[in-house]
Symmetry: C2
Subunit: 458 residues, 2 copies
Amino acid sequence: MGKLDYFFSPKSVAVIGVSRNPKKVGHVIFRNFSEGKFKGKLYPVNPKVDEILGSKCYPSISKVPGRVDLAVISIPAEFVPGTLEECGKKKIPAVIIISGGFKEIGRNDLEDAVVRILKKYKIRVIGPNCIGIYDPHSDVDTFFLPRYKLERPGDGSIAFISQSGALGSVILDWMAMKNYKISKFISYGNASDVDEADLIEYLANDKRTKVICAYFEGVKQGRKFYEIVSKVANKKPVIALKGGKTAEGNKAVSSHTGSMAGVSEIYSAAFEQSGVIEADNLEEIFDFARVLSTQPVPNGNRVQIITDGGGFGVLAADWIINNGLKLAKMKKESVDQMRKVLPSHVVLKNPIDLTGDADVERYRVAMDAAMKDDNVDMIAVITLFQIPTLTAEITDVISSFVEQGKKPVVVIAAGGRFTEVLKKSMEDFGVPTFSYPEKAAKALGALYDYSLAISGKT
Amino acid sequence: MGKLDYFFSPKSVAVIGVSRNPKKVGHVIFRNFSEGKFKGKLYPVNPKVDEILGSKCYPSISKVPGRVDLAVISIPAEFVPGTLEECGKKKIPAVIIISGGFKEIGRNDLEDAVVRILKKYKIRVIGPNCIGIYDPHSDVDTFFLPRYKLERPGDGSIAFISQSGALGSVILDWMAMKNYKISKFISYGNASDVDEADLIEYLANDKRTKVICAYFEGVKQGRKFYEIVSKVANKKPVIALKGGKTAEGNKAVSSHTGSMAGVSEIYSAAFEQSGVIEADNLEEIFDFARVLSTQPVPNGNRVQIITDGGGFGVLAADWIINNGLKLAKMKKESVDQMRKVLPSHVVLKNPIDLTGDADVERYRVAMDAAMKDDNVDMIAVITLFQIPTLTAEITDVISSFVEQGKKPVVVIAAGGRFTEVLKKSMEDFGVPTFSYPEKAAKALGALYDYSLAISGKT
């Protein structure tokens, strides 16, 4: 077990600084561990309290009996170095320091002390000034926000690391609502020890993670970062969003984390050279990630559109072209085959327009033909669920084609509550769904770029 | 009363082609009228039926007693000319032809017949091959999609016209879910009589409409369109999205509506010269429309950001710059004033970072200062509702500042269900809300562009 494994799969966790006050950080963290699915041993630590939520409370970490794999520290900054020293003496391999009040407010002395101690005892530390980890598989959850107020996404294959805790956590809340799933989330704050490069290297070898996503404002060690992502990005997709790209945003960064954001162009060039896929905005990170984590790599850039609404087909065609992809031209045999069974008013071009009286069978016929046709590399399916003839069974049909894993498929469906419910059910089966053509097309473009990167064609 | 008024505020409506089969178009249209808030007289017409949903059914439109302001026709295309002739004889001023089966499938003969008759009797016609009108104020609703499957948005001030019925209707479904409100929606299909230019001219004089939005793939009469929008766009915002901008999308248009989409650059140039705000995608139309319909015109392009999350503040700063706006620099007096009452760890720059322990009072102080400071033209407020110290009262505080109508305000709040509920409550008070900074910034950019257009500075 590598040392970073202790952060995500600890057999025993101590929460240092629990409180009986349900509004306090230490209380919420302990409650999340004790009420969740976490299966390991749990040790609350607080010298002033005997018992919390039915568990015996220990006066200090050194008084905890037996081995502790992970300590989560949430106490005032000035007491952190002393407590970390105790953790070292107890040979705890991994420590998350939630507490703020270090470098980010000018207390470099306290942060230096932390670094000295973690080196002395070879402890791996995440933080300080972070919200830590959420791992839906082990249910390690150090967020100090109650689950009723900030929902957690389900167990999936997208990893997300974020320098900013607030930004990362509200994105998880949004992902949970959308039914997007994650493998691991890490907010690493001041990165006094474990930094973005360490995490990306770790996630590259994590079997539960298929795509690595990152939001950061600055990088601690440029060369190390570049070398690691260059190695990782060609075997597992790495998607990054850099905050503070403009001079003005850059100034805001220095107020936010006290770090220098660096020159935007340097980052973009480094991303491109190392094979990192750069996202333009937060939503796009996960648009890309959902497609890259669920869909096979395409053989080319020819997309077949299948729609029941002409207008959406037109917009999809526009955006496919705008993103460097092409409209597929299906073989005559495929078209003839479809023509035999589909009504004459169905338009068998690209887009294939199944028209406003389309039913599930028409979609089945068209998707089957596109799947089998060698002139088609990717499929964009537009389903306006509101038309009277289309039943909810369409989600099963699409999901079963996607399950074959032969060609990338994305689904575009705009609408209200009814539509959202059907889209969520498809997300469960690994079907990436979008409300609008431009986002789906951009994500297919990212998938195609990745296919070029891993085949060495870029 | 102008003739187009009869479409939106008829005192009596005949639905020609009602059916007792609840899946049929004519049935759904009649049901929507009879079960909605529509206050006028209603006449179902069908020679084969005596009674429908408790109403006496008339064998033909000529047998309907008394005056009819609006006829909605949903019968097979071949019978439409004869029925339209009867409508003419009965002096019905406005007719919506829902039926398809005309020019779009090559039956130009039938469409020509329709045009001859409407000219002969001076009837104004919307359609054929359309889904017609939804007006939440009068509850004229000719959508043939039941309300449980496709929700209708509430009564507001955004008008939306769409050549494509399917596209328009699913967008309304999405708007209803988001709690965005509209004044009128019109799907005009083949535009055999009333076209996009007529509708824009009409909506320019409609008091309930503050912003006009349009999706179209081609324009029927280029010069007429250009002349009308040039007049309208400088007194009321007109936002347009053109489908089929690429050569490939253009080909898809000819399969979709049989019309030529024209050269994309010509449209973009015409939009710019006539003062039309061009949107890049469907969502953006309504991002722009919500801001332009609710917020005052700014005096300049200096934006003050107020946030409780540093990362979102950084991204907002980036996007404000990317959209041709500037970060405001507040006066020393304003900063001193805030400094007196706000804690020392609050960052009083731009962004103002109220930090992760912000409460409602901090927002009140910062918004009040930004509202009063002459160096600030617009305000972007970021509220991550998930932080423990921020109560739901924040929505009232923000709404009351927006109600003053002194400076444009947008709210950015990302998250899950809890966040969405609070955002919807603000939309009710005319506060435009966004999930992500890039969209809010782009919409403020559109508002600023409009301010330049009406002041003749562009």
